[in-house]
Amino acid sequence: MSASTTAVPAGDLVRTAFAGYLLGLADDSLILAQRLGEWVTRAPQIEEDIALANIALDLLGQARTLLACAGKVEGLGRDEDDLAFLRDEREFRNVQLVEIPNGDFAVTMARQLIFSGYQYELYRALLTSTDPMLAGLAAKAVKEVAYHRDHAVQWVRRLGDGTDESHTRMQTGLDHTWPYVEELFERAPGVAALPRIAADPASLRPAWDSFIGTVIAEATLTIPQPTWRARGGRAGYHTEYLGHLLPEMQYLHRAHPGASW
């Protein structure tokens, strides 16, 4: 699918809103791919190294398509690498959930459950986007994400309903990640300007809630009631963690300005 098939909406405001929306989706996938890449060679079983690498590869693929497209819509001549490697922390538009450190395997699986559950509803909604690029991407991504979600479900069930230790760790993992849930379903700035193109995050919540509720109950776990919530990722307000992730990801590209790789 090529970015040139994007039906760029008329008007500068809408164009800016659309580029921002695409960046948000792209950055979510990119930053989570980066985090999952950290797992490779550290997974609990070699089979799991392969599974996590697969998910990272899918997310990276989504990010590349979305970044290329965001660059086109933005119209400043920035390609996928310019956007990935040359933006600073405050310019990233991802939700904070994807940037928090991996923690143990339970924290990572909690994050995978929350996020792939969200992405599944998101891409299903985008199947009917009036933007051909987004609809096309969604058709491919929804299959990938269905697999990511299934992978997370399998593990959350096993850790929740496994041993005492794994149950405790899994519940702790959920408790640790739940403050980052609200942000996923918050209406991002600009989405209102993109009717029928973007998906309203709030509209994804009921299906996500019922899916998550079932999995958590099956896994003999409880839905956490956090006392605080993350906010601001889509507007460029991040955790301190992102400021460590980005230099690692970007340093080599930035150390050789203009070089090709």
Binding site: A43, E47, D49, A63, R64, F105, R158, S166, E248, A259
Partner: protein
């Protein structure tokens, strides 16, 4: 002890010790079995897991396949070291896919080893305890992005050179695993060459980076073929058994002959002043390999030996609770697992 379809009937024990306890056949049929085995080898037929085989043959295979599997798994680390720092998203994707392939290779090979009556878990213990080796090349650090290129071009290149003859190994499951591995390896070598080619045609800093990586990886790559045949303890018997098809020195020479013109295409100098075409031999002559260095690194005194094993151990130990949880869940949900598998 849990064994595969192909595992032998005799009770096997962990690790390479399994071989020692392998088939204790009644003495009256022993000679007959040995004859049948010898005839299969002589006819260039494959030995399959449930066939009778000499203890030494089984033992040699277990050692070799396990070392090979360990090399694939440990080999993920030097390249995994650059996944988070790859300089473009395209290169990042390629590198993840490549490291993932190496994990797959390790699994194909452990699977082949398990047909000989050993358990992967036991082989991993032997690796973690330093009782089984892996290729010494992975004890060198990856210090720059260009090392991803040098590893793909030279290390995967040398591995392919070693592995292609193994596709015809007399032991069926090993040969079949090698066929799958070799199919995937050619992508590895090409992407490495492509990285170096891009760098050596890039900025002066990139060119220097590429040259430096090849300077560091060239000699250790030549060591990957093992010591000279006359010094190698295992070569003769392995050749007779059809496990090893070509000698260390012959493979090394082929590798050098192939690399020289490729290095020219890369505009990279191979770090060997003695490297020159020998008209009489029809091969490139090359300088003396520092075998003392190989011995030293194999014995544990390489820059990364400690670090590589430590990473493997900690991944394994920190993952123990996850594996136990999955086991506990499987026991609890034994009856529903078939239905769930399809869900």
């Amino acid at each position: 002890m849990h064994r595969g379809v192909d595992a032998p009937r005799t009770p096997a024990v962990g690790g390479s010790a399994a071989a020692e306890q392998a088939p204790a056949k009644p003495p009256d049929t022993g000679a007959h079995l040995q004859q049948r085995f010898d005839a299969l080898i002589a006819d260039d037929e494959r030995i399959e897991p449930r066939d009778w085989m000499p203890t030494g043959y089984r033992k040699t295979l277990i050692r070799q396949i396990a070392q090979h599997a360990h090399s694939e798994i440990i080999g993920m680390q030097p390249e995994g070291n650059w996944i988070t720092r790859a300089p473009s998203l395209r290169r990042k994707a390629i590198l993840i896919a490549k490291v993932q392939d190496e994990a797959g290779h390790g699994l194909y090979l452990y699977s082949a080893a398990e047909t000989l009556g050993v358990d992967r878990e036991d082989l991993l213990d032997l690796l973690h305890e330093g009782k089984q080796k892996y290729s010494s090349i992975f004890n060198y650090p990856t210090l720059s992005w260009a090392d991803m290129g040098a590893i793909g071009w030279l290390v995967d290149g040398a591995a392919i050179m070693n592995q292609v003859p193994l596709c015809r190994c007399s032991y069926g499951p090993y040969g079949r695993a090698m066929v799958r591995v070799c199919k995937e390896e050619s992508f590895h070598q090409r992407q490495g060459f492509d990285i170096l080619h891009t760098l050596s045609h890039g900025t002066p800093a990139q060119q220097a980076m590429a040259q430096d990586a090849v300077d560091r990886f060239w000699w250790p790559s030549l060591m990957m073929f093992g010591p000279p045949d006359e010094r190698s303890a295992h070569t003769a018997q392995s050749t007779a058994w059809g496990i090893k098809r070509l000698g260390n020195d012959e493979l090394r020479q082929r590798f050098v002959d192939i690399c020289v013109p490729q290095a020219r295409a890369l505009d990279i100098t191979l770090p060997d002043p003695d490297l020159r075409w020998n008209e009489n031999r029809g091969h490139y002559d090359f300088g003396a390999v520092d075998w003392a260095e190989l011995t030293r690194v194999i014995k544990g005194d390489g820059p990364c030996n400690e670090q590589r094993i430590q990473r493997r151990r900690s991944a394994h130990e920190e993952g123990a609770w996850v594996r136990e949880a999955a086991d506990a869940y499987a026991r609890k949900h034994h009856n529903s697992s078939a239905a769930e598998a399809l869900a």
